[in-house]
Symmetry: C2
């Protein structure tokens, strides 16, 4: 199967240097216009473009170095993992895309700086940081756009975690995925804020990958999603560029609710949002009627994320005392 990411990796690896220790960081991200549904499951090619905001210093630090034991080693947050754990095997499968049959044993060390209590997935930042670290370790001559295309193979949303700030992942149309990668949307918006309101930080009932595929396969309402999601992504990019916070917020919230609606109509239904999530949404909507300008977005889990501007931060914190606030343009 012709895969643009694999072709890129093979070409770069043909001129690889001997592996040396290399560390990289990638931020996590939250989509304001959601990625939901694949046109190609093997290549992680999406049915629609998406646009995210990166989470500054909440992300993954990953080091890839030659292993000094002759065996692969994987550690996460300071703990050595058995190689058959889910995390280690996913990371090593991705590493194998680079080293192929040349089984250079590597030592992969990941540290996530995302508070566990935030209940955010770390696969986006994890695969983006791993891509950067692998490219550095092997001295590969790849651009960030090319790294984004490659990170996509690990996790679709990882393609957006190569940069800080607003990032757009174009769905692309090529069958081999050559034009499906992200690029930064160069808008500096220092007052933009995100709040994470944790609801349940335990493991998800369904992985987002399974939820997405089940929705595409069984939800009668899904057929209307890809065209609307593309329209939303274009509108949201325009509102980001115009810094029209109200229009951005309204569209981002509507886009997230529509994504969850496609799942709710799946057969059987998938409901990542629970009663507590809906209670927070109701509280938000009541506060908004009283003048608090904040909008919600929700991913494949029950937590609620809010977007707002710096001037609303103290109101957000008093309305939602659990909220963890992030300033996406203030990062190391």
């Amino acid at each position: 199967m012709n895969d643009a990411a694999k072709t890129l990796i093979a070409r770069a690896m043909s001129e690889a240097s001997a592996p040396t220790s290399f560390s990289a960081y990638a931020p996590s991200n939250i989509a304001l216009s959601k990625y939901w549904g694949k046109r190609d499951r093997a290549r992680n090619l999406p049915l629609n473009s998406s646009l995210s905001i990166s989470l500054a210093d909440w992300g993954s630090h990953t080091q890839v170095a030659p292993s000094d034991t002759g065996q692969d080693q994987v550690s996460l947050n300071g703990e050595a993992l058995a190689l058959d754990t889910s995390f280690a095997s996913k990371a090593l499968n991705f590493v194998d895309l680079f080293r192929g049959n040349n089984e250079t044993p590597l030592n992969i060390t990941t540290k996530n700086t995302i508070p566990t209590a935030a209940g955010l997935a770390s696969s986006a930042s994890g695969f983006a940081a791993l891509t950067r670290a692998l490219c550095g370790c092997f001295g590969l001559d790849l651009s960030e756009a090319e790294m984004s295309l490659i990170a996509r193979l690990g996790s679709g949303s990882a393609s957006r975690s190569l940069w800080h700030g607003f990032v757009r992942w174009d769905k692309g149309v090529a069958e081999n995925g050559a034009d499906s990668f992200a690029h930064p949307v160069s808008v500096d918006w220092p007052d933009f804020r995100i709040a994470i309101i944790p609801v349940d930080t335990g493991p998800k009932s369904h992985s987002s990958r399974d939820g997405m595929n089940h929705t595409v396969d069984t939800s009668p309402l899904f057929e209307a999603w890809p065209a609307q999601a593309e329209k939303d992504c274009n509108a949201i990019e325009r509102f980001v560029r115009e810094k029209d916070f109200t229009a951005l917020g309204q569209h981002a919230e509507a886009n997230a609710l529509a994504m969850h609606a496609t799942m709710q109509a799946a057969r059987p239904a998938i409901t990542y949002l629970n009663a507590r999530s809906w209670s927070i949404l109701d509280q938000l909507w009541r506060a908004r009627q009283k003048g608090l300008e904040a909008y919600a977005t929700m991913d494949a889990g029950p937590n609620i994320k809010l977007i707002f501007e710096a001037k609303s931060a103290s109101d957000i914190q008093s309305e939602f005392p659990d909220a963890q606030i992030i300033a996406p343009f203030e990062h190391s």
Copy 2:
């Protein structure tokens, strides 16, 4: 505008007798396959067929009699209403379809037997009972199918309240509505049960009419609804005829969730279900995993309705102590 219902009324009224007092009863109903979206708002013509179960002795008793004061009189549940109240003006507008310019003053007395705590709308049973009572009062020669077609002008779901048991409202295709009326699905299922779990019995945030029109106008996911709803209605009729309770329940629940999903994707969103509704749904789904066979359906309000068979009644009552249980085939 050529309207089949108005034509029927005019033809029947041309042979009307002098008005005499007439009382009629119509049961309320709950759709197992929902009516959601109109192809003609003036004529209440639906985009899809629907199928309901009537609520036995929960409904409306309506008497229409010549007024002895020379003025219209309207009373509801024993209380005389001002003629400009919402209830009275809707009822009199419907009455005017019959008496036209011949302003025979009438006394309209309605008593609803639906417990207020159930939070169910009474417009379906109300317009069905009013149609029957008007036809009786004027001695009109109209079949029940014709009365169903006429009741539809008052409220779409009223077309299904002319009968007990399972009733199907065919959407029809005629522009003037001549083929858009209901008929009973002749299946006797004495063990069929309904439970109403009240969540909030106050007035709705949006009328179902407004919610429906806003969804059709703004929800990007709505376009996929009519075809799926028609498919669901046909499947549900088949499962009723086969008395396949599991398949019926699964389809009814999925159909209701899909309807709510179309609203959740409206812009702005309409969320009739609140946190308590979702908490009850979650409780139901957990109980179902443990073997309790019951399925949920929800209309334009936060209350949850369950369908199940008689053998599960005591389990339902202990899982949901607030539930009010109805045996739809046990009626006066």
